[in-house]
């Protein structure tokens, strides 16, 4: 198929960017979206132009590196997948596809479609852990029984890949879904309860500092999350935060 691509090009964080239009022939439906961009880049290099810069790594939907706002939605039109898992069969011959970086004050553009998501790392550093030493001198794993429901819920929260689609989709660029997943992943387990109070306070404080917007419960994050992280985790964090604030 033949496609028209409107791609955001920006030299670096200091300069302004703009859309540029490219046309691409011979796109196969079996290509992933990123492979389609590879083909475009190969063309650009052959024409002595600068290839489009975008984040990507594992290309199997788990590392969370790939991003891209495709036709107005993070990771494109299909649900529950990342951009690297989006295949061109989701598009039609003659389509125009607009490709932009994830937009948020907390995610400044590095170059073209690549943004800096280190705000997420700082949120995790603020408390996303259980304070146990890694010496291995701990109790036998089976002495901490965890009911299956809690283990499964913690796992569901922990499947967050930190891609930033929640922020990108949210009209407020809020990071509540991400933060709540990272908070819940620990607080749902007995091991994580010990530090739960301080953890939620610290992580929310860091989230606010990074300049993300506020949650207005539109649910866009959940709908666009490639891992289907549930809004319940946001409610959970709100609850935990309130409890923690009251406790002090």
């Amino acid at each position: 198929m033949k496609l028209t691509l409107k791609i955001w090009r920006q030299k670096n964080g200091q300069t302004k960017g703009a859309f540029q239009t490219y046309s691409l022939d011979n796109v196969s439906g079996d290509m992933s979206f990123l492979e389609m961009l590879d083909v475009l880049n190969e063309d650009l290099i052959n024409n002595n132009e600068e290839p489009v810069v975008f984040d990507h790594d594992c290309r199997e939907g788990i590392c969370g590196a790939c991003s891209l706002q495709i036709n107005g939605e993070p990771h494109g039109p299909d649900a529950l997948i990342t951009t690297c898992q989006l295949h061109m069969r989701s598009f039609n011959d003659g389509d125009t596809i607009t490709i932009e970086p994830f937009r948020a004050a907390a995610f400044p553009v590095i170059k073209d479609l690549m943004v800096d998501r280190s705000a997420f790392e700082r949120i995790q550093q603020a408390g996303g852990y259980i304070s146990v030493n890694t010496s291995g001198n701990t109790i036998d794993a089976n002495t901490i029984p965890v009911d299956k429901a809690s283990a499964d819920a913690a796992f569901d929260a922990a499947t967050c890949i930190g891609c930033g689609a929640c922020v990108a989709a949210c009209k407020n660029a809020s990071a509540m879904l991400f933060t709540s997943a990272k908070v819940s992943q620990f607080s749902l387990l007995p091991q994580g309860k010990v530090e739960a109070t301080q953890r939620v306070l610290n992580m929310v404080e860091q989230m606010d500092k990074e300049g993300f917007g506020n949650c207005t419960n539109t649910g866009a994050c959940e709908a666009e999350c490639p891992k289907g992280i549930s809004l319940e985790f946001i409610a959970r964090m709100n609850r935990e935060y309130l409890k923690a604030s009251i406790k002090g």
């Binding site: 800096d116 259980i130 010496s135 291995g136 930190g162």
Partner: protein, 667 residues
């Protein structure tokens, strides 16, 4: 006597590690504060090592080309992690895990290292649970296990199909705790481009800030490499796009020996190649082989009909199917080790029984498992005389709960529903058992330079068993390296901070800059990917799943020619002082091109078939690998002498005192 000293402690196998820990030197806590360690790579091996070292009190700097440590490719490991916990009471033990690993590695790994790995494996699970890794549980609240290829017990712990992700998040959370304390300084989006040797010791690295392009000097008292494998040398592999051998290769060129580069694992269950545009291959967890049955049609005409779309696989009668693994290996069946399963698939496809358009695929069929589980569920729910549709529905539900995410992934890529029609799979490059040679302390042949995880060679011999990579990465990082590195660093307590103004740093920086500028200044006509793809084709066709002397010799010539062409005709757009992914790729591919030659040389010299290394000249009449223990029971450690072709091989002989070396049979 070889010049390689593996430093294996004396004494009985089961006491070596405990005894060694008791006798090595330690660094007191006050002194640890004055010692800096650089950890390159932040996957399971690097992340766990960085966290533990920081916890012990060392000042740690971590480096990753990714924008976050948690994006390292360990995250993509699906199936699970082995540990000799014997929670299932099915006869597992440290010795059995040790034995399985050595046997699975086709008797080409170092006994003492493997035993230690098995010994600390149980601790890993304790550790991970304590730090909140949500492993799968049974309803009683205890940990669940499953079984993996090449073993007869259930010792694999898992978190659905995302075990690697959960373990990495665990290691990263331990890192985060130390970052928050200021004990780890993370350098994300930084790539190590050389190691700096001062007075014969590794004392730092040269790194490039990938955002600004700035070349930086970082000093430390020791450098730990945890940079993963070099599977991307094949271009198409299950590795992440950025996975590379640059750090290992640079260290090799500065004096670290590279061991067994030809030992590469081809994973049997990957999604087949769909076309020219393919950028990477996607693995489907080996755990699928617990329930999936692998087959091709018995008759060639059926295979052709399926290929041309005239026949649906589900319409093929049971007696017309060839479940070739069950046929050839009745005792292990579909759960034979990876190398065996991969070769068997290739054998069938080469013989003309392949089932997708390219003829390079076999079926992985869940129909019988769905039926079996469906009947089981019907019985559990007291449904009498369930209809076939009901059984299917119940069975699919069980399969969904076990492998849901994998099935979804498959459907997204292939656009076919694997619940209804069998999956198509084909082997793909997955893991490299070879890597930097290390002694028992995980030290390379450069003092102060350590290698952990996939980037070293030590534990998997010629073939790695499933769910053992995660085990090794975490064992090295959490429990081995942090002890053994202290022995070396205990001599450094009075050294003080290492200055980055030393001439060795200036020289290394200059060399790095010159190489990058050289890449930019070729200004040729072909993209980096163009060369990388061509290199991959040479490797896959001639140094891939089956190798022979003639092909390997040709490959060596072709690699050299390609490398020469690369330096004359590559086009790297953009500049040095900016974000420039093409420049990053160019550097990595240029290193792959050198490693590829050594890789082929190693494969050529090893005139036997063992594990992932299959030489067509050395096989039994039934097509099984023919090992030559008489002449090749050693580790081939290559020393760099100015060019890959000049490399000198050193042998570390492998002595098996606790295992009877036998022909590996899974029949």
């Amino acid at each position: 006597m070889s010049i390689l000293d593996s430093k294996i402690p004396k004494g009985p196998l089961a006491e070596k590690w405990a005894h060694h820990k008791d006798s090595i030197n330690l660094v007191n806590p006050a002194n640890k504060r004055n010692i800096d360690i650089i950890v390159v790579g932040t996957g399971l091996a690097g992340g766990s090592a960085a966290a533990t070292l920081a916890e012990l009190g060392y000042n740690v700097k971590t480096f990753t080309y990714n924008d976050s440590p948690r994006r390292a490719h360990s995250i993509a490991a699906q199936g699970g992690i082995n540990a000799a916990k014997n929670y299932q009471g099915d006869g597992d033990s440290i010795y059995r895990l040790f034995y399985d690993t050595v046997k699975g590695g086709d008797y080409r790994s170092r006994e003492a290292n493997v035993y230690r790995l098995a010994e600390v494996s149980a601790n890993i699970i304790d550790q991970c649970v304590a730090q909140g890794v949500p492993f799968a549980r049974e309803y009683g609240g205890l940990l669940d296990n499953r079984s993996f290829g090449g073993v007869l017990v259930s010792r694999t712990f898992y978190a659905k199909g995302q075990t690697g992700q959960q373990l990495l998040l665990g290691a990263y959370s331990a890192m985060n705790r130390q970052i928050n304390r200021g004990k780890i300084k993370p350098y994300n989006r930084h790539e190590m481009l050389d190691v700096v040797i001062v007075d014969g010791k590794a004392r730092g690295i040269i790194a490039r800030d990938l955002v600004s392009g700035e070349i930086q000097r970082h000093s430390a008292h020791a450098v730990v490499l945890a940079t993963g494998g070099y599977g991307n040398i094949f271009f198409l592999s299950t590795n992440a796009m950025g996975c590379n051998a640059t750090a290992s290769w640079k260290v090799h060129k500065k004096g670290a020996y590279f061991a067994n580069p030809c030992f590469t694992q081809i994973h049997p269950t990957c999604i087949p190649v769909s076309g020219e545009h393919q950028s990477k291959l996607t693995l489907m967890s080996e755990s699928l082989r617990n329930d999936g049955r692998i087959w091709v049609p018995k008759k060639k005409e059926d295979a052709i009909a399926i290929r041309e779309g005239r026949l649906e696989p589900t319409d093929l009668k049971e007696e017309d199917r060839d479940y070739y693994l069950e046929r050839r290996y009745p005792s292990f069946g579909n759960l034979v080790p990876r190398d065996v399963a991969s070769r068997a698939a290739k054998e069938r496809c080469d013989a003309g029984y392949g089932v997708n358009a390219t003829g390079q695929a076999v079926f992985l069929d869940f129909a019988s498992a769905i039926e079996r589980y469906g009947k089981e569920q019907a019985a559990i729910h007291h449904i009498s005389n369930p209809s076939a549709a009901k059984i299917r529905e119940l069975g699919e539900e069980v399969i969904r709960s076990k492998y849901g995410n994998l099935f979804q992934m498959y459907e997204k890529i292939v656009d076919k529903n694997p619940y209804k029609t069998p999956m198509m799979i084909y082997p793909a490059v997955h893991y490299t058992m070879g890597g930097l040679w290390v002694d028992y302390n995980l030290s390379t042949t450069i003092p102060g330079c350590y290698a952990t995880g996939e980037c070293n060679f030590s534990d998997h011999g010629a073939n790695r068993l499933g769910a053992s990579a995660l085990m090794q990465g975490l064992a090295d990082g959490y429990f081995v390296l942090p002890y053994t590195i202290g022995d070396y660093l205990s001599n450094d307590i009075r050294t003080g901070a290492i200055s980055t103004d030393l001439p060795e740093f200036a020289q290394a920086e200059k060399e790095v800059k010159e190489r990058l500028e050289k890449l930019l200044n070729v200004k040729g006509t072909k993209s980096v990917d163009n060369f990388h793809k061509r290199l991959g084709l040479i490797m896959w066709n001639k140094v891939g799943m089956a190798r022979n002397a003639k092909g390997l010799k040709e490959a060596i010539e072709e690699i050299r020619a390609l490398r020469e062409e690369f330096w004359k005709d590559v086009r790297v757009p953009g500049g040095l002082n900016e974000m420039n992914p093409e420049l990053e790729k160019a550097g990595r591919v240029s290193d792959f091109m050198e490693l590829a030659e050594l890789f082929a040389m190693d494969a050529l010299h090893r005139e036997e078939s063992c594990g992932g290394h299959f030489r067509e000249e050395y096989q039994t009449e039934e097509g099984e690998a023919l090992r030559d223990d008489e002449n090749f029971m050693y580790v081939a450690a290559w020393e760099y002498k100015g060019a890959p072709s000049e490399s000198v091989m050193h042998k570390e002989s492998l002595d098996y005192e606790n295992i009877k070396v036998a022909t590996r049979s899974y029949k």
